[in-house]
């Protein structure tokens, strides 16, 4: 028999400061009245996001009651993200989202910051008193822990959690989740795993399975993580965080295509999650799936309009993938993509006008877009407009890389290669960048050709493995027609030709063709992944020729 929330609630309400955010004056007034009736005293109310952020920047607020739908402009989720991101709201403060329509789309939009609770309109006094009263009681009980987390004193927070667990069974789930998360933060994965295993040994709870998956990934146990998360997703098709983690596990397992499919499904379910769309966009780009990448970047850009996560990189990436998509495509669709790319890039120049290199980055891509539409004059003009900034020694590496890509499209191959070689020297201590340089040197063509060459390469390998040497040679040659300087393709061909030579009665012609392939790779830099293979094949060939 209980009166669940304590009678001292009035006192609880009275000690705290409140901020009400709603665009309707009537609602602000009635909320203020309800709060007063509950015993609250320090209440401020504002009508929009910027006023809310402004207020929190200069005042301490314990409880924010924020309407989700604030008309044009930023919504409640944007405010929450901004407040938490800029650390204008402490972890020990409560953020309650008020919704007229509880929409899944919105609830699932968030990938990081989530509100401490939801209030569903209509709100009456009894409801607010119970709901908020309960949260305040929880806040007070957990305040010492949250305070340590705010101070990033995680070890202390962990021991407080452990102390609190036996005395506060009411908040057991919160404590277990927080504890597991804290262990994760300090890198103590075995304790974090144990928490989830303990919970799961008593009952199959989805949050614990999710947590387990997260730790398994951190422990680089990708196979088990993927299996766990796959099962979770199939049981809970509406659990978006599980999709995110599953995609991560699949990616780390080396299954980028499957990872992309998972994220596509998740993005469809939660059309408002910027970071999820961004993750999908990055993945699809690296999978050379430019239509999907463009779509996802487009979504990322548009969701960024009012978001703290907005970034010029999203615009640039959208411009780049649209450029890839439109290249050499003079159909209506192709020109539309090219036009969209130019529009987006111009918008980026305006929106991020103060940012360093923004015009440079924009014009490099614009030039490529024009070139892809066979407008060489415009392509040149775009580069001329930033001529004074196009200094390979001063440009940031990523811009250099992009510039080289444009130079290839403009038919200035020698310039592009020179630029990339210089860049490789300059950034010899940056392996990811070196890899990008290699890929560009290997495949300085559009994504469609890239995909074609890659699939031919796979076919060639298959034919070789099946013993169809003649077919392998033809296939590799077809691939090399598309990407003549591709290092591993050339070496593949050399290997097949050598094998053919061994099978024939010394057909010297075959060896000459090998020689030609290796000559093409004469200036392959030492740090290239294929360099060792090149050296050993070269030695072998010399042996066979002598």
């Amino acid at each position: 028999m209980t009166e669940p929330t304590s009678n001292a609630i009035g006192a609880n309400f009275g000690k705290l400061s409140y901020l009400v955010v709603d665009d309707f004056e009537n609602f602000r007034l009635s909320m203020r009245q309800i709060l007063r009736n509950c015993g609250a005293d320090k209440i401020e109310s504002v009508a929009n996001a910027s006023a809310a952020v402004q207020y929190c920047a200069y005042n301490h607020v314990d409880v924010v009651l924020c309407d989700y739908n604030l008309g044009e402009g930023k919504n409640g989720q944007h405010i929450l993200e901004e407040l938490r991101h800029k650390k204008l709201l402490k972890r020990s403060s409560l953020f309650l989202m008020v919704t007229a329509e509880t929409s899944k789309e919105m609830v699932m939009g968030a990938r990081e910051y989530q509100p401490d609770g939801y209030l569903t309109k209509p709100i009456n006094r009894a409801m607010l008193e119970k709901r908020l009263g309960g949260l305040i009681a929880q806040r007070n009980a957990l305040l010492p822990i949250n305070r340590e987390i705010d101070r990033e004193n995680f070890p202390e927070a962990i021991s407080l959690c452990l102390q609190t667990l036996p005395s506060q069974p009411r908040y057991k789930t919160w404590l277990m989740k927080t504890l597991a998360d804290l262990y994760y933060q300090v890198g103590d994965f075995s304790h974090a795993l144990k928490i989830h295993d303990d919970v799961l040994s008593q009952r199959d709870l989805s949050w614990a399975r999710l947590g387990r998956g997260k730790i398994l990934i951190a422990n680089q146990n990708y196979d088990e993580a993927a299996a766990t998360l796959k099962a979770l997703v199939s049981q809970h098709p509406d659990y978006m965080e599980a999709y995110d983690l599953l995609a991560e596990a699949l990616e780390k397992q080396g299954r980028p295509t499957q990872a992309q499919q998972i994220l596509e499904k998740a993005a469809e379910h939660s059309p408002n999650a910027l970071l999820r769309h961004k993750h999908l966009a990055v993945l699809a780009s690296s999978n050379q799936d430019m239509p999907t990448a463009s779509k996802a970047w487009r979504q990322t850009v548009s969701l960024g309009t009012y978001s703290i996560h907005d970034n010029s990189e999203h615009y640039l990436a959208l411009g780049q993938s649209l450029s890839d998509l439109s290249e050499g495509d003079s159909s209506n669709e192709g020109t539309a993509h090219a036009d969209e790319a130019l529009t987006i890039l111009r918008r980026m120049e305006k929106r991020f006008a103060g940012q360093e290199n923004i015009k440079l980055r924009s014009r490099i891509v614009q030039s490529r877009v024009h070139a892809g539409q066979d407008r060489m004059n415009e392509a040149q003009n775009a580069l001329d407009s930033v001529a004074d900034e196009l200094d390979p020694d001063l440009m940031p590496p990523e811009a250099c890389l992009d510039y080289a890509k444009t130079l290839f499209r403009l038919g200035r191959e020698a310039d592009a290669k020179g630029l990339l070689n210089a860049l490789a020297l300059r950034c010899s201590d940056n392996p990811p960048l070196l890899q990008k340089i290699e890929s560009l040197l290997d495949e300085p063509v559009g994504f469609r050709q890239k995909l074609q060459a890659r699939s031919l390469n796979r076919e060639g390998i298959k034919a070789f493995e099946a013993g169809n040497l003649e077919e392998a040679v033809t296939t590799f040659n077809r691939a090399l027609d598309i990407v003549p300087s591709h290092a591993s393709l050339n070496l593949n061909l050399v290997q097949v030709l050598m094998k053919q030579y061994q099978g024939t009665a010394g057909d010297r012609e075959l060896l000459k063709r090998c020689e030609k392939c290796l000559e093409k790779l004469a200036d392959l830099p030492e740090q290239h992944r294929q360099h060792r293979r090149l050296i050993s094949l070269r030695k072998k060939l010399e042996g066979m020729m002598s």
Binding site: S30, Q33, Y118, N124, A126
Partner: protein
């Protein structure tokens, strides 16, 4: 109160043919939101005009019926998602008395207006369930009890045979013989002619089923053996 209905629909892409249930669900979603706004206004009106409205039966009917429609629509959307295989129970551990108190709070203004007493009788226990789904079930059940009770409604919670049993009792005439059962009403057995579609029971039973622990699943039970003398709705959660 947290969100009580996962109901936003994903937008179909690139499909030209009309998916009628999808169209219907979108329309229901829209209506539900409108009713939400209407209910909000009614609540505010009651607060502003306490003197004139007070216990006006007509105002109570207005609010009650709007509430009922709102619940029905929430359930329709739930059932739609069930059919789409897109509804699952996100079970977490909750402190049951707190949960019941929140459920009660939502109905307080209407109950006060109608002069119905609402009490909670719960052990201090933690229970495992999906808060949002159960909120949907209890909203509807309490609403139903409001319709049939004379003067009192009681929310109960206790553990029986390793099941968490949450009950809603009233002091009305009780359930008719043919409705008393435990188990799952199938969709086919719903009788649209009797005026009562039992949509709420179907939803409640589906939500109970979604809750499982090992090989045990939840179920609902209707009987008249309560201490208030009227109907008793029970949801048994493993």
């Amino acid at each position: 109160m947290t969100t009580n209905d996962h109901d936003e629909l994903t937008h179909p892409r690139g499909t030209q043919s009309i998916d009628f249930s999808m169209v219907l669900a979108s329309a229901v979603h829209d209506m539900k939101n409108s009713l939400g706004m209407l209910l909000n206004s009614l609540d505010e009106l009651r607060q502003e005009q306490t003197d004139t409205i007070g216990d006006s039966p007509r105002f109570n009917t207005l609010q009650y019926e709007a509430e009922r429609m709102h619940n029905d629509l929430v359930q329709l959307l739930g059932i739609y998602r069930l059919g789409e295989n897109n509804l699952s129970a996100h079970v977490e551990e909750h402190f049951v008395p707190d949960f019941l108190a929140q459920q009660m709070a939502r109905h307080t203004p209407l109950l006060e207006g109608m002069g119905i007493e609402l009490a909670i009788e719960s052990d201090d226990i933690n229970g495992f369930f999906d808060e949002d789904l159960l909120t949907g079930v209890l909203n509807n059940t309490i609403n139903n009890a409001i319709r049939y009770t004379k003067s009192m409604i009681k929310l109960t919670a206790a553990m029986h045979n390793d099941f968490l049993v949450i009950g809603v009792e009233d002091d009305g005439d009780g359930y008719p013989e043919n409705m008393q059962h435990n188990g799952t009403p199938s969709f086919k057995s719903l009788n649209f002619n009797s005026g009562s579609t039992s949509l709420g029971l179907f939803f409640a039973s589906s939500v109970a089923q979604l809750h499982s622990n090992g090989d045990r699943h939840g179920y609902i039970k209707l009987h008249n053996d309560g201490r208030l003398g009227g109907g008793v709705f029970e949801i048994w959660l493993p």
